[in-house]
């Protein structure tokens, strides 16, 4: 950890753009991965990026179709390696997980829908979604909360980033019943992971030119657990004198977010609070259908929606909003350094929303997912 800190600090001192090794690692390996496939010559002169795709449950497959359609129409140089892993559809097994993991190791970048966790206890406390996160060590979840121009909500022009530690905390899957009728659930907070997520948050803020990082906690009650988290954030904050550091208690944070969200910039927090705040913030700008998100480890980047919800009621009804997944796909293209294509996709989506003529049900319109996707394709910058 100390070595990583020192290394990153050195890079930071050199170029205040922050450590680029997250991006470099994924891009260079995917180019070499595609170049090594000599049997099938690339369709274009430039390298085609290979990305792992995991449609997941609920409306995930429909949203992935939207992404594929838009990419095809926009001639985006990305090829998808599809995997179908699902607990509720009985398509989950250790082998499948291994296949998926080896694809990820090759491609380094993935786009995925949510793998639904069935509520019944099937003998394994950690869901597939959690296990995937842990095996790939996707410790940082980043959700971009941006108001959509043309879609008015109570608070407009929002621009927040929510960074959530997602491998420990309350979701450590450590529960036991020592006495019948009394369950103990262990919330794990470690110095190493707290430092790591704090550093990620400050590096992210530095790289994106943000001004403030606010740590969210409940250290007044969980004095040792959240207290440790807070202490780590404060320690890391000292390494970044240009970024303002504040902290706020989770319940007050929720209240402030609904009353005056403009006071926040980048927020960093442990697992459970992150899950709640992600969804709260999604609600502020239009719901689960419009907020993109991604998860990072030191080597991998997984792009998904911000508020993860399989939305099973909408399956097959063609009503899900592809916005979040398309914006996330655009973020993925930026991560792959395909700036031009990234802008092309995100601009098209934003243009359709701004025009207001074609909107899915969650934004108050009557369009189907297909109609929305077609509108986006029609608006791809040509």
């Amino acid at each position: 950890m100390a070595v990583a800190l020192k290394r990153s600090l050195a890079v930071l001192v050199k170029s205040l753009g922050g450590p680029k090794w997250w991006q470099q690692a994924s891009r260079s390996v995917s180019i070499s991965a595609s170049l090594s496939r000599v049997e099938s010559p690339p369709a274009r002169a430039d390298a085609t990026f290979k990305v792992t795709m995991l449609p997941g449950d609920g409306v995930g497959p429909e949203l992935m179709t939207a992404v594929k359609d838009v990419f095809k129409a926009g001639d985006v140089p990305v090829e998808f390696d599809e995997f179908h892993l699902s607990e509720v559809q009985n398509m989950a097994s250790e082998d499948k997980l291994e296949e998926l993991l080896s694809s990820m190791k090759n491609n380094k970048v993935a786009i995925k829908g949510k793998i639904h966790t069935p509520m019944e206890f099937k003998g394994e406390l950690a869901s597939y979604e959690m296990r995937l996160r842990r095996k790939l060590d996707l410790f940082a979840n980043v959700v971009h909360v941006n108001s959509l121009p043309g879609y008015s909500t109570r608070h407009n022009n929002l621009d927040l980033v929510i960074i959530r530690e997602q491998t420990e905390g309350e979701y450590s899957s450590l529960e036991h019943e020592s006495v019948p009728g009394v369950i103990e659930c262990l919330k794990i907070i470690t110095r190493a992971k707290s430092r790591r997520i704090a550093k990620f948050a400050f590096d992210y803020a530095t790289k994106k030119g943000r001004n403030k990082v606010t740590a969210v906690h409940k250290a007044n009650i969980m004095k040792l657990g959240d207290g440790l988290f807070l202490q780590c954030c404060a320690e890391v904050a000292q390494l970044y004198p240009k970024i303002k550091y504040e902290n706020i208690i989770i319940d007050n944070c929720c209240m402030q977010l609904v009353q005056n969200p403009y006071q926040f910039d980048v927020l960093v927090m442990p697992n459970l609070y992150g899950n709640i705040i992600d969804n709260l913030a999604a609600g502020l700008v239009g719901g689960a259908g419009v907020v993109p998100g991604e998860s990072y480890s030191a080597e991998y980047a997984v792009f998904e929606t911000g508020a993860r919800h399989p939305f099973a009621q909408a399956v097959g009804r063609n009503i899900a909003n592809p916005t979040a997944m398309l914006l996330s796909a655009a973020n993925m293209l930026r991560h792959l350094n395909l700036e031009y294509h990234s802008h092309m996709v995100s601009d098209a989506v934003k243009r359709v929303i701004k025009q207001g003529k074609v909107r899915t049900g969650d934004l108050g319109g009557y369009a189907t997912s297909d109609e929305f996707t077609q509108a986006v394709i029609a608006n791809l910058a040509v």
Partner: protein, 143 residues
Amino acid sequence: ESLSTPSNTPETTRGMVQDPTQFDVLVMPNLYGDILSDLCAGLIGGLGVTPSGNIGANGVAIFESVHGTAPDIAGLDLANPTALLLSGVMMLRHMGLHDHAHKIQKACFDTIREKKVLTKDLGGNSKCSEFTADICRRVQDLD
């Protein structure tokens, strides 16, 4: 309108921000209650107007406002008594004194609706005693 019924706390949080009218009574464990109660207080105007009660067995109960002690305005006759007053109304209902509870609640709501003697946090510049006097006057008029 929300197309999906929330099935866990994060989804409920989102639903609460997008369309709180889909909910009626919510019951939950400790931490979620802490978070959600503050969130909902934010939706209706903040802790200065939110009442609360703690109910135990055998009718034992403590009613309280959940805002801070506001040391910066203490002793200056500036505080908004709404939260504590409405908590008192909750207490009266708990004790079965429904008529009194109804009168005081109506008086309080009417005063706020009229907007003539609001305390600073509600956008006016009246004193706490003036706000209270207005409510008292209305209670007496309702008798």
